[in-house]
């Protein structure tokens, strides 16, 4: 699934879109606990979270995750946007709950990591 399709399905807004317009995503991982995110072995993974602070982006950076979706209406601040842009991370946000985001993407074929 490409970024534009994810954005459309989630009625999301994109605040950082570096160069992954054509990246393909097949998996997602949802967590508000960043230490759990740091334990996964990512490959084409979307990180879905309600945690909205600069450590969300740092965690994605360290984990080689380049697509982050913020749920529950959380909006990224300028520091998060810049950090995402600098590290080639697509950052989008939407009003849906994390559960709803997972159910929409799951229905469209995005798989869990385990």
């Amino acid at each position: 699934m490409k970024i534009e399709e994810i954005r459309y399905l989630l009625n999301a807004k994109i605040s950082s879109l570096p160069k992954c317009r054509d990246c393909e995503y097949n998996f997602a991982f949802a967590s508000d606990l960043m230490s759990d995110v740091l334990r996964i072995r990512p490959d084409e993974v979307i990180l879905i979270t309600g945690l909205c602070n600069v450590q969300t982006i740092r965690t994605a950076e360290m984990s080689d995750i380049n697509c982050v979706v913020l749920g529950r209406g959380k909006q990224p601040n300028d520091e998060m946007k810049k950090l995402a842009q600098d590290n080639n991370i697509t950052l989008m946000y939407c009003d849906y709950s994390v559960y709803k985001i997972c159910s929409i993407l799951g229905k469209e074929g995005i798989k869990p990591l385990y």
Binding site: L33, S35, L38, L51, N53, Q55, R58, E61, M62, S63
Partner: protein, 136 residues
Amino acid sequence: MEYTKKIIGGNFSEAGEASSAIKKVLKQLGVDSQVIRRTVVAIYEAEVNVVAHAYEGLLSVLIEDDKIKIVIEDEGHGIEDIEKAMEAGYSTASEKVREMGFGAGMGLPNIKANTDKMTINSVVGKGTVIELINYF
């Protein structure tokens, strides 16, 4: 190549800056991407630990041909029971740390899981020293 960075306790906005800088250096050196990921995850968790639990700390990194050595020394409360602190899920973190997405007792287990060698020494009331090695 050597790199050092002072880490200030409680300063969450800077946590991850050292890991980020080291990640860029390792990429430039052409180190395997899995080794880079494991190394920066370990350093990042260590940085967050200092920010979360100590007054201040110093991160020192030495990159050699075949390995990277990392030492994180902090001045702080120290760890009373290292064995217990290594257990997944054991935490003494504050509410503020949890709000930042950490503090669920996975920091030290994550560091261990992502390094080839890890030693930890701590004196209660003084601080903690963690030494890590990852081979390329």
